[in-house]
C-alpha cells in the first residue's frame, strides 16, 4: 500500500489516510486538547505526508514511526507558531474526583477527558510517550523512533508517566480485569 501510495496511487493514498487519520487525529487531540486545532494540525500532517512520501525509505523506519514523526514535528511547529496565544492552565497535583463513589469510578472505563486532565501535570516528555503509546498504540520501538529517543529512555518515561498517573488518579487497586 505504501509503495503504491508513493507512486501517487489515489486508492492507496486513500487507504493510508483511512488507516492513519483516526490515530493521528487522536494524537493531535490529546496533545492540543482542542478539536479545531487537532483538525487543523491533522490536515497539515497529511499535506506534509504528500510532500514527503516520495522520500520515504523502509530501511530508515517503519511507516507508522515515519508518519508519526511528521505528525510530531508538525505539532511542534504548530505549537511554536501559536505559542504566544496558547494558555496552558497548570493544574494542581491533586485532581478533584468527579465521581461520588470511588467504586463507581473504578468500574468505569477511563475517559479521554479524565486522562487529559490528569496528564496535564506530567512533564512534556512523559506526556508525549503516554499519548503515543496509549492513545495512538505505537510500540516502544516506534515511539522511540517518532520522538528521536532511545528505547530505554522511552521505557523509563513510560514507567514514570504511568506511576505518576496512578498516584494522581488515586487508584492503587484498579479494577481486576480478567483478559
Amino acid at each position: 500500500m505504501v509503495q503504491r501510495a508513493r507512486s501517487g496511487d489515489q486508492s492507496a493514498l486513500g487507504e493510508l489516510y483511512d488507516l492513519y487519520f483516526p490515530r493521528i487525529y487522536r494524537y493531535m487531540l490529546a496533545r492540543t486538547g482542542n478539536t479545531a486545532e487537532a483538525e487543523d494540525v491533522t490536515e497539515d500532517v497529511f499535506i506534509k505526508v504528500l510532500g514527503a512520501i516520495g522520500g520515504f525509505e523502509w530501511r530508515e523506519a517503519p511507516f507508522a514511526a515515519w508518519i508519526f514523526r511528521i505528525a510530531h514535528n508538525q505539532l511542534i511547529s504548530h505549537s511554536r507558531k501559536n505559542g504566544a496565544r496558547r494558555q496552558e492552565t497548570p493544574l494542581a497535583d491533586t485532581i478533584a474526583d468527579p465521581a461520588p463513589d470511588p467504586l463507581i469510578r473504578v468500574e468505569n472505563r477511563l475517559s479521554f477527558e479524565q486522562i487529559l486532565d490528569v496528564a496535564r501535570v506530567l512533564p512534556q516528555a512523559q506526556r508525549e510517550v503516554l499519548w503515543l503509546r496509549f492513545a495512538v498504540g505505537l510500540s516502544i520501538c516506534d515511539t522511540a523512533r517518532t520522538l528521536g529517543k532511545q528505547e530505554n529512555n522511552v521505557k523509563v518515561l513510560q514507567h514514570k508517566a504511568i506511576a505518576r498517573l496512578q498516584k494522581l488518579l488515586g487508584r492503587p487497586e484498579l479494577e481486576r480485569t480478567t483478559i
Binding site: 501517487g8 487519520f21 487531540l29 479545531a36 504528500l50 510532500g51 498517573l165 484498579l174
Partner: protein
C-alpha cells in the same frame, strides 16, 4: 544481568496490549515484581482501552477529499514525481540497455527518448500544477482546485513573518472564507457545516487575540468590519444552510456577534488612546454598518486582503434621510465613541516619520434629487478627484460598500437576491476601472457592459449601467 523494572513493565504492557498474555500471566512470570507491577500494568491496560473521541465524520470526509484532491493536483514531493519517471532513474545494473541497444547499435537512443518523454511529462506536471495554483484563487469549497487554494494559503502563511503581517494575512483569510460563503449564496449553492466551520475557525482566533494594546487599530478596524459583515451575511444565508449544519450556523453567528462586540470595544479603546495607527496603513474610509443595518458585503470578486475594510454610506435599508448638501462621511467606522483624529488642543503624538500618515481625502456624499434612474434615489459619492453615482438609502435590495485593501479603495454597488448578490459593479477609486459581475446559470461571472442588458433584468441593468456611466476618475 539484573532486569530493570522499566523493561519488565514495557514488556508486559506490550504483551498484554497485543493479547499475547493476560495480566495474570505476566504477573506470574515476574512474581518478585508482583506488587509493584500489578497496579501499573492494570492502569496501562486501562489507558490503552480508554475511550477517545473520534473526529467529526464530516470533517474527516472533507479533509480526505482535500487530501486526495491535493495529491491529484500535484501537491506531491519532487521525489514522488521522480519515482513516477523510472526512465530517469533506471539503475545501471538493469539489463534494459544491452537488450535494447544491441539491435539498434546506438546505446544512447533509448535513454534519449526516455529523457525527452520524461522532460515533456515533467513540464506537463509543472504546467498543470501552475495552472491548478493560479486557477485555485477563485475556487470555492467543493471545487477541485479548492484544496490547492487552501494549501497555497497555508504556504503563504508559513512564509509570512512578524506578528502584524501574520495577523494581517489571517484577517484576509477570514475575509476570504466570508467571501466564499457569499459566493456560494450568490450561486444559491447549499452551505454545509464545513464551510461554516472554516468561517468560525478563521475568525475565532482573531477575536480571541484581540487586545487594543497589542493589535494595531487598523487591524481592529478590519476585524470589526469582518465580523459586522459576517453577522449580516449569516443572517441572510440561513435558507441555504443545510439542516444538519444548523449548529454550525448558530455557532458562527455567536462567534461573529461576540467578535463584533469585542472588536467594537477594542476599537473604541484603541481610539481613545490616540491616533497610533501604523504609518502607511489605510484609515477606515466610511462607516461600518451596524449588524442590523444589514447592507455591507464585500464584492464577490474581491481578493483576499482586499475585502471589507470599511463600509457603506448610503445603504439600502438605512434609516437616515438623504441630505441635499454634501455630507462628509463619518470617519468612525463603528459605533466607537472616540475619533481617530486628535481633538483640538490635544498634544499630537510625536511621529517618527512626519510624512508617514497620509491625510485621507474628503469623502462627501451628495444627494441628487433630479436623478431617478430605475425609480431609485441617487447619491454622488466623492473621494478626492473620484466620483460615482450610487443608489441612496431607501433603495431596496441594493447595497453600497467602500472596500479598502492592498490595491486601494473600491466602491461596490451590489444587488441582493436570495441571500447574495446576483449583480454587482466594483469600481477602483484610483483608476475608475469597473468590474461587473452577474449571476449566470448559478455562477458569478465577470461580464462586459454590453452583455449586462441581456443577462440581468431591466431595472437592475439600468442601475449597473448608470453607475458605470457616472464614473469620474482623475481631475
Amino acid at each position: 544481568m539484573k532486569q530493570r523494572f522499566e523493561d519488565v513493565l514495557a514488556e508486559c504492557l506490550e504483551a498484554v496490549n497485543t493479547g499475547r498474555f493476560t495480566i495474570e500471566e505476566c504477573l506470574a512470570r515476574y512474581p518478585h515484581w508482583d506488587d509493584r507491577l500489578e497496579p501499573l500494568l492494570r492502569l496501562g491496560y486501562q489507558l490503552s482501552q480508554a475511550s477517545f473521541p473520534e473526529a467529526d465524520s464530516t470533517f474527516r470526509e472533507t479533509a480526505r477529499e482535500r487530501f486526495l484532491a491535493a495529491a491529484q493536483a500535484g501537491a506531491v514531493a519532487p521525489q514522488q514525481r521522480r519515482k513516477l519517471l523510472p526512465a530517469l532513474h533506471m539503475p545501471r545494473r538493469w539489463s534494459w540497455r544491452p537488450v535494447l541497444s544491441a539491435p539498434m547499435g546506438r546505446p544512447v537512443a533509448w535513454r534519449r527518448v526516455a529523457l525527452t518523454m520524461a522532460a515533456a511529462l515533467l513540464l506537463g506536471c509543472i504546467g498543470f500544477s501552475s495552472f491548478a495554483v493560479v486557477s485555485a484563487g477563485d475556487s470555492l469549497p467543493g471545487d477541485w482546485q479548492y484544496p490547492v487554494k487552501r494549501l497555497t494559503e497555508r504556504t503563504r502563511l508559513a512564509f509570512t513573518f512578524g506578528d502584524n503581517a501574520r495577523r494581517d494575512y489571517r484577517i484576509s483569510l477570514a475575509q476570504e472564507r466570508l467571501h466564499e460563503v457569499q459566493q456560494l449564496a450568490s450561486g444559491e449553492h447549499q452551505i454545509d457545516e464545513s464551510v461554516l466551520r472554516q468561517l468560525v475557525d478563521s475568525t475565532e482566533p482573531l477575536v480571541k487575540a484581540l487586545e487594543p494594546d497589542s493589535v494595531p487599530t487598523d487591524q481592529i478596524q478590519r476585524i470589526t468590519d469582518l465580523t459586522a459583515e459576517q453577522k449580516v451575511t449569516l443572517d441572510r444565508v440561513g435558507p441555504l444552510v443545510e439542516a444538519k449544519a444548523a449548529d454550525e450556523l448558530a455557532q458562527a453567528k455567536v462567534v461573529s456577534s461576540e467578535g463584533y462586540d469585542k472588536a467594537v470595544v477594542a476599537l473604541a479603546a484603541a481610539r481613545a488612546e490616540g491616533p497610533e495607527e501604523t504609518p502607511g496603513l489605510t484609515t477606515p474610509a466610511t462607516g461600518t454598518p451596524s449588524a442590523s443595518a444589514g447592507t455591507a458585503s464585500p464584492t464577490p470578486g474581491s481578493s483576499p486582503g482586499a475585502a471589507a475594510s470599511s463600509s457603506p454610506t448610503p445603504q439600502a435599508g438605512a434609516s437616515a434621510t438623504p441630505t441635499p448638501q454634501p455630507t462628509p462621511v463619518p470617519g468612525a467606522a463603528t459605533p466607537a465613541p472616540a475619533e481617530p483624529t486628535p481633538l483640538p488642543g490635544e498634544p499630537t503624538p510625536a511621529a517618527p516619520e512626519p510624512t508617514a500618515t497620509p491625510t485621507p481625502p474628503e469623502r462627501p456624499v451628495t444627494f441628487l434629487p433630479d436623478d431617478t434612474t430605475a425609480g431609485l434615489k441617487w447619491n454622488l459619492l466623492t473621494i478626492g478627484d473620484f466620483s460615482v453615482r450610487a443608489p441612496a438609502d431607501g433603495s431596496p435590495d441594493w447595497a453600497i460598500s467602500t472596500l479598502s485593501g492592498a490595491n486601494g479603495d473600491r466602491i461596490l454597488v451590489g444587488h441582493f437576491q436570495s441571500g447574495g448578490f446576483d449583480a454587482s459593479i466594483t469600481v477602483q477609486v484610483s483608476t475608475g476601472q469597473a468590474s461587473i459581475r452577474v449571476l449566470v446559470q448559478g455562477t458569478i461571472q465577470e461580464v462586459t457592459a454590453e452583455d449586462v442588458r441581456t443577462l440581468v433584468p431591466g431595472p437592475v441593468a439600468d442601475v449597473i449601467l448608470h453607475v458605470l456611466e457616472s464614473i469620474h476618475a482623475g481631475p
